[in-house]
């Protein structure tokens, strides 16, 4: 028994989303369980309850921050944007009526915060063709006839993160919105102000570029292993 083995005397029940997936606090007490429900917490937050604000932050911080970090590829900017997203959430929470899922509402708000930021920085959000350095769009064609090593097996998460961070901003935006966050092309077209066809085309190019980056990374690793 862990508790007995380590002689733990002062533990409290932790309404925590551990490891980012699901609430691991068993509803031992149904009253407490009810208290912890999203609707209850949101209602409390709408009345300015500090605990409720913090609970909402704890539950959603990873997703919001990860979104900001993936879209900016910059830790300091991502922290500022996550902060801004939550502040906007708290300022507007009184207007949330529950017509949509709270998480959907928050993530849309977060995407808007990031898009506004990128526009302020004059980074082209959707004029994607120009974002890739010359010749990068031909990456797929280069593969044919070349010594083509497939990415067989699985893709390491950290390597994928780095590859995504290395994408040109426009490619990264579409990839994160579609493949990471699950937005549809018509939604991306609407919020980013581009055509559906453009969104599809840029997503495909982003994936091809990622494939190149991941293969390059594996080739470098293999080279190091041989040298070592």
């Amino acid at each position: 028994m862990l508790g007995k083995r380590y002689n733990i005397n002062y533990l409290s029940r932790i309404p925590m989303v551990a490891a980012g997936k699901g609430d691991l606090t068993e509803p031992v007490d149904h009253t407490k369980s009810t208290e912890r429900s999203d609707a209850e917490v949101i209602a409390r937050a709408q009345h300015g309850d500090a605990d409720a604000f913090r609970l909402l932050y704890e539950k959603h911080k990873r997703r919001v921050y990860s979104l900001c970090l993936r879209m900016t590829a910059n830790t300091a900017e991502a922290e500022d944007l996550a902060q801004e997203a939550f502040l906007q959430l708290y300022r507007k929470i009184g207007t949330f009526r529950g017509e949509s899922a709270f998480s959907t509402w928050l993530h849309r708000l977060s995407v808007n915060v990031v898009l506004m930021h990128l526009r302020k920085k004059s980074l082209p959000v959707v004029s994607l063709e120009e974002n890739a350095p010359s010749g990068e769009d031909d990456s797929a064609k280069r593969d044919f006839g070349a010594d083509d090593v497939a990415l067989a097996g699985s893709i390491d998460r950290l390597q994928l993160q780095r590859a995504v961070d290395s994408l040109p901003p426009g490619y990264r935006m579409i990839f994160v919105l579609h493949d990471v966050e699950g937005y549809e092309h018509n939604e991306i077209a609407r919020i980013a102000g581009c055509s559906v066809g453009n969104s599809k085309s840029q997503l495909h190019k982003a994936r091809m570029k990622l494939r190149d980056l991941l293969k390059m990374n594996r080739a470098e690793k293999a080279g190091k292993s041989r040298a070592g």
Partner: protein, 205 residues
């Protein structure tokens, strides 16, 4: 359909399931490998959704702003759940096992950074608790006894956090001075320590 046409068609039908695409893929190993790789990337992308933990200073800044703007009022219940949770992370009840896990991670990461320096010898004189002392079976046994309905959730979380540790550890091993990798490793250990704390919480009378 040529290889170039196949590739262009993937923007519209990404999984290669049109009759024309299928016909080409049956005879072209390079394009088959391409479609497989793209599917791997698509599947792995979902794993980035909650991959990062923000620094504690993010909440500190939010809280300061909320107070400044008068958006929050002081909590009424001194013993509320959230108060216990958030005061507790830096407080007296931080479970020894979880702390040991984090300490182990920090020391291990620290030691790896020092591999080529004189301080390495000093670092290795520090007794490093072994995270494996706190094995997963203990945790699952605790959950089974005190929260049987949560076994599946714990098992899934444990598996995920172990995979994160393994991934990050591999990168740290390869590049000991990589800041991002070390941070990821510590984050992963922090998540695991959280699981242990939750399980131990249930063991109380």
């Amino acid at each position: 359909m040529t290889c170039v046409e196949l590739q262009e068609s993937l923007a519209e039908v990404e999984d290669g399931t049109t009759p024309e695409q299928r016909a080409h893929l049956r005879t072209c190993p390079a394009c088959s490998a391409l479609v497989n790789d793209l599917n791997l990337i698509i599947n792995a992308a979902v794993g980035l959704q909650e991959a990062e933990e923000p620094s504690p200073r993010v909440w500190n800044s939010i809280e300061t702003a909320l107070k400044r703007e008068g958006l929050i009022r002081p909590q009424k219940r001194a013993g509320s759940l959230a108060h216990s949770l958030f005061a507790g992370w830096t407080g007296r009840w931080l479970a020894p096992a979880a702390a040991m896990l984090l300490l182990s991670a920090a020391l291990l990461v620290h030691n790896r950074m020092q591999t080529n320096t004189v301080s390495e010898q000093t670092a290795f004189t520090v007794p490093v608790p072994n995270p494996s002392d706190l094995n997963d079976n203990d945790l699952m046994q605790e959950v089974a006894e005190n929260a049987p309905s949560m076994q599946a959730a714990y098992q899934a979380n444990l598996q995920q956090v172990n995979e994160s540790i393994r991934d990050a550890q591999a990168v740290v091993d390869e590049s000991p001075n990589d800041e991002d990798a070390r941070r990821s490793l510590l984050d992963a250990y922090q998540q695991k320590s959280m699981l242990f704390e939750l399980a131990m919480d249930r063991s109380l009378p």
